[in-house]
């Protein structure tokens, strides 16, 4: 039905002109569509999908990629597929990047569609593992159409595009989770499953946070490479800037190349980045510190101290929060104290970030600031409960006094009534 509507729209468009068309207008009718529209199966697919294709919407047509004569009679396949008119048929996979780059690497042309669009995809691609294998003649290496699709290519911003952030991991996984393909390269196929279980995927798919990283945010898109040992902190630091800065500061201060021994992935994994938990710090069974530091090391002792301090901060904060919440439920006005407690809670976040400085003193200073706020919160909660008790005692005393007044008044009323004739004064 959609294909029929598309054909009708096509047929009613203006006559075909071989000269370049203004950017942004649909192409005129062509022999390709007229003929392929009558065919079935795979031969019909390009026509059926073209209506969703960003290239078609911008005025490009079949012959812009495949060559041939779009002005040929619709029943003359040979005239349409005329090699003298540049007919190339289905481009070879090895040549696809160059074919796409004819336009996408041409700044003048691309500017006519979008002045901000990038034109370095081919250059980037050539630096990627995919591009290098392609250049070396490996026709199984990923080319443009593997990620962006073919006939029906949508802009990356379109959620239906294979390269949209919400679909990209699935797109990469089509090859990288396929052991039949990856075995030949000796590559693991767990990345996609690992990523889907990660905190990043949870942010992207569950919270709908399009800023959360997917494959290309760490590996690059056209220039896709596995980040090397020296660049992991840079890759993670492109989003986790404060942690990366702290990491670098310590590195410079101590004259170490920490990247070599402490990379983000040692504690956090790479594809399967789990939500950071409090018990990663310290020397407990789920600690990541003990992965490298053994009992007796000064670092081990530091980790034990930091872990214990962080635990105490959390416990005191939990106590303060619980006390203030219970006081609030009891009707006490503690909103200002609860607001003040937020600063202490912020110190928990601060301390967690400062872990990445590997500087015990800085970490302990943040914990101390948080503990001070937590203690104030605990005091405020205890004060609220003391006041609540005082209020209730005050109420009990007041009620006794009021009751005594009522009894006194009742006795007085009875005494006054005794002075009246029975049943009151007759009027």
């Amino acid at each position: 039905m959609r294909a029929a509507a598309f054909l009708l729209a096509w047929a009613t468009a203006s006559a075909y002109a071989a000269e370049p068309k203004p950017a942004g207008t649909p192409p005129p009718p062509s022999a390709c569509v007229a003929c392929h529209g009558e065919l079935d199966g795979e031969a019909l697919e390009p026509v059926r999908r073209a209506q969703d294709d960003v290239h078609f919407q911008k005025g490009l047509s079949c012959h812009d990629c495949h060559g041939g004569n779009p002005a040929a009679p619709s029943d003359d396949m040979e005239a349409a597929h005329d090699e003298r008119k540049g007919w190339v048929g289905k481009p070879s996979r090895l040549k696809v990047p160059l074919l796409c780059a004819r336009c996408h690497a041409d700044p003048e042309l691309m500017k006519s569609y979008n002045p901000h669009t990038r034109v370095d995809q081919l250059a980037e691609y050539r630096t990627s593992v995919h591009g290098k294998r392609n250049a070396a003649g490996d026709d199984k290496a990923a080319v443009c159409v593997d990620c962006h699709g073919v006939h029906g290519i949508r802009p990356v911003s379109d959620p239906r595009s294979f390269a949209h952030p919400t679909r990209l991991a699935e797109t990469c996984g089509r090859c990288h989770a396929d052991s039949a393909r990856m075995d030949a390269y000796g590559l693991a196929v767990t990345q996609y499953a690992d990523y889907k279980a990660s905190v990043h995927a949870a942010a992207l798919y569950e919270k709908g946070d399009l800023g959360a990283p997917t494959c290309n945010d760490c590996h690059g898109s056209h220039g896709a490479v596995p980040p090397g040992g020296g660049s992991v902190a840079n890759v993670c630091g492109s989003c986790h800037g404060r942690e990366a800065t702290l990491f670098r500061e310590t590195e410079a201060k101590r004259g170490l190349d920490l990247d070599l021994c402490i990379r983000c992935v040692v504690c956090h994994e790479n594809h399967a980045v789990r939500p950071p938990t409090a018990d990663m710090l310290g020397v407990g069974p789920r600690s990541t510190c003990v992965t490298c530091h053994a009992e007796g090391d000064p670092e081990y002792r530091a980790a034990a101290g930091m872990g214990a301090a962080a635990t105490r901060l959390r416990e005191r904060l939990a106590e303060a929060t619980d006390l203030l919440e219970r006081a609030e439920r009891a009707g006490m006005e503690v909103s200002a104290d609860r607001f003040a407690l937020r600063e202490a809670q912020d110190q928990v976040v601060e301390a967690r970030v400062l872990v990445h400085s590997f500087d015990e003193q800085r970490f302990m200073a943040a914990v101390a600031a948080g503990l001070e706020g937590a203690e104030k919160g605990v005091s405020a909660g205890q004060r609220a409960f003391r006041e609540l008790r005082q209020r209730r005692i005050g109420l009990a005393v007041s009620l006794v006094v009021i009751l005594a007044v009522i009894v006194g008044l009742a006795l007085k009323a009875r005494e006054l009534d005794r002075g009246l004739p029975p049943g009151g004064v007759s009027t």
Partner: protein
């Protein structure tokens, strides 16, 4: 105290000559309250007056710390609740007493309605009483916004929007109430002025008239308790001190109830209003406006081609007018009309109670 018949001496004589105190003491001596099986209802007027006095006293105390600007209102009430000695008590009593006041005033009015105490010559006493009730509702509406918390802010927005839907003058009313097109700090200042100056001034006048008329006509005795109907001689008790001592028992009990409510259920302050935040769920007005709120929700979008909200507002307007005009509707002593009025009164009460219950049941379930 000087003996009966002897001219007063000393300070009392000095004051009496200038203030006419002896006339007041004579009035106190002469004033009596009828004694019959419905005498208990007479206490409600005194109780309403007592709670109003509590409002005046606690209101004046709150004035010492309250600040009527959008930037400071919430914080000043928070300060009263946490830092001012017994501020929590004063504010909670003010809030609880306001609600009890409206409740007692409603019961007082309905008892007067059922006992037909509004009949000649007490029609004007009824008019002033209904006006006082409306003034109390005005106090409630204007006071609700003053802590500048989220619930009050959005409830006021809805309430003033309803006023804005009144035909012809709606736009003027809305802007008059809000002090602009939106509920802002300007509205708060305006409501504050209305709450602490305009309404108290009007209430003083109407209350004075109401009390004077009560003294002028004395307490109404229901027809069923007239000596001619009961076959027993009409009896009464002196107002001072017999009835007043009983009043004082009720007032003391009210102080105890208010203290208990304030200590056990301090009035919630909520969260500071944020005019740019979306309206939270569960917005509802004070309970005494809830039945009108629910009625507007129940009404279909259009009734006989007229907008449902307008139909509701028209009905409330007519209802308020009928309430004021009760003594005139019941004039002439025709039993059939009088009976119909009583039935109508009960229908309104049962409907209002059901609609109010619906609001709170919806809130509990949703």
């Amino acid at each position: 105290m000087s003996a009966e018949g002897e001219p007063p001496r000393g300070l009392r004589a000095w004051l009496d000559e200038r203030l006419g105190l002896s006339a007041l003491t004579a009035l106190a001596r002469e004033k009596t309250v009828p004694l019959h099986r419905h005498t208990a209802w007479y206490y409600l007027g005194g109780m309403t007056l007592f709670l109003f006095t509590v409002q005046v006293v606690t209101g004046i105390l709150l004035l010492l710390y309250y600040r009527s600007s959008a930037d400071e209102a919430f914080e000043s009430v928070q300060f009263i609740m946490t830092r001012v000695p017994f501020g929590w008590l004063v504010r909670s009593i003010h809030s609880w007493s306001a609600n009890l006041l409206v409740l007692v005033a409603l019961v007082h009015m309905f008892s007067v309605f059922l006992l037909k105490a509004y009949r000649r010559p007490r029609e004007v006493t009824w008019f002033t009483g209904v006006l006082l009730l409306f003034l109390m509702l005005g106090f409630g509406f204007s006071g609700y916004l003053l802590p500048w918390n989220t619930l009050a802010f959005f409830a006021t927005q809805v309430g003033t929007e309803v006023a804005g839907a009144v035909p012809v003058v709606g736009r003027f009313l809305l802007r008059f109430l809000r002090g602009g097109d939106q509920v802002t700090g300007g509205t708060l200042t305006r409501f504050y002025g209305i709450h602490v100056a305009v309404l108290p001034a009007l209430t003083t006048l109407v209350l004075a008239a109401h009390l004077l008329l009560v003294q002028r006509h004395g307490m109404s005795v229901p027809e069923s308790q007239h000596a001619a109907r009961t076959g027993r001689p009409a009896r009464s008790v002196p107002f001072f001190p017999n009835f007043l001592v009983r009043d004082a028992i009720g007032w003391s009990a009210a102080v105890g109830v208010l203290a208990a409510l304030a200590a056990l259920f301090p009035w919630d302050l909520g969260e500071k209003a944020d005019p740019f935040a979306p309206a939270p769920a569960g917005i509802r007005p004070e309970w005494y406006f809830a039945w009108m709120f629910q009625t507007l929700k129940w009404l279909p979008a259009h009734v006989l081609g007229v907008e449902g909200e307008l139909v509701g507002l028209f009905a409330f307007g007519v209802g308020g007018l009928l309430l004021i005009l009760v003594p005139l509707l019941d004039s002439g002593g025709r039993p059939g009309r009088s009976h119909a009025l009583i039935v109508l009164g009960w229908v309104v009460v049962v409907y209002a109670a059901a609609a109010t219950a619906a609001v709170y049941l919806n809130a509990a379930s949703g």
